[in-house]
Amino acid sequence: METVVFYVFAALALAGALLVISFKNPVSSALSLVLTLFSTAVLFVLLLAHFIAVIQILVYAGAIMVLFLFTVMFLNLKPEALKFESKHLHFKVSALLAVLFLVGYFASLGFKKGLLLSNIGASNMDGFGTVEGVGTTLFTDYLLPFELTSILILVAIIGVVVIAKKRAN
């Protein structure tokens, strides 16, 4: 059962990711990204990260995607403004190969670590991934990083207002 759910939603996530980079229209890409993010949320549930899955849907698929769609519709792009994709096939193939080799190298390093980890039985799994468990970790061991995150958000808000406001001249 778990295996079937994993493969179905892994395939959906991959399909969504491939559609994101292949659509010409940004609105279609954004909706494909929603598919990927939802499928990843299901995989988080499989990994017993229930709170994280809810956060993923609320923040990513909710807030960030709405921001993307709002911007695309706000810009009101004309169709001719989207017809500038590179036609060079050799450029695309070489870009893909370069990325594949680089990530394959790092993935193999992680894979070795993962093989070591899969033998470790998790010690205590009660409360794992619930709001209570994540909250306890967040507000005891990681209180300072959590508070610093709010400064990051504040800086982002001020920066966005400064960037987006109309210039006087």
Binding site: F6, A17, I21, A49, L67, V72, V99, A107, I120, I163
Partner: protein, 101 residues
């Protein structure tokens, strides 16, 4: 046979490759930002997978931090995009190379 951590790591690596390819090969600034989101999301998947394998919830905390950074990055990136589009009337990253050395 149950799903092991390697399955999640491989999926995470594949999603990262797809996102990185989008960042390098696409010319539309909006889609480049979306591909960046894909890469961040694949990193989050790896965080949560390692968290489950170790039975340690630190990965979940880092995932929340990562979501915060992604939200801030998207907000600033889209504000820059709107500002650039109103000045230059294009989103082609090959045209927007005024900072090229």
């Amino acid at each position: 046979m149950s799903v092991s951590i390697e399955h999640y790591l491989i999926l995470s690596a594949i999603l990262f490759v797809v996102g990185a390819y989008g960042v390098i090969a696409r010319k539309n600034l909006i889609i480049v930002l979306m591909s960046l989101e894909l890469m961040l999301n694949s990193a989050n998947l790896a965080f949560v997978a390692f968290s489950k394998a170790l039975g340690d919830m630190t990965g979940h905390v880092f995932m929340i931090m990562s979501i915060t950074v992604a939200a801030a990055e998207v907000a600033v990136g889209l504000a820059l995009l709107v500002s650039v589009y109103s000045h230059r009337e294009t989103l082609d990253i090959d045209v927007l190379k005024i900072l090229k050395g």
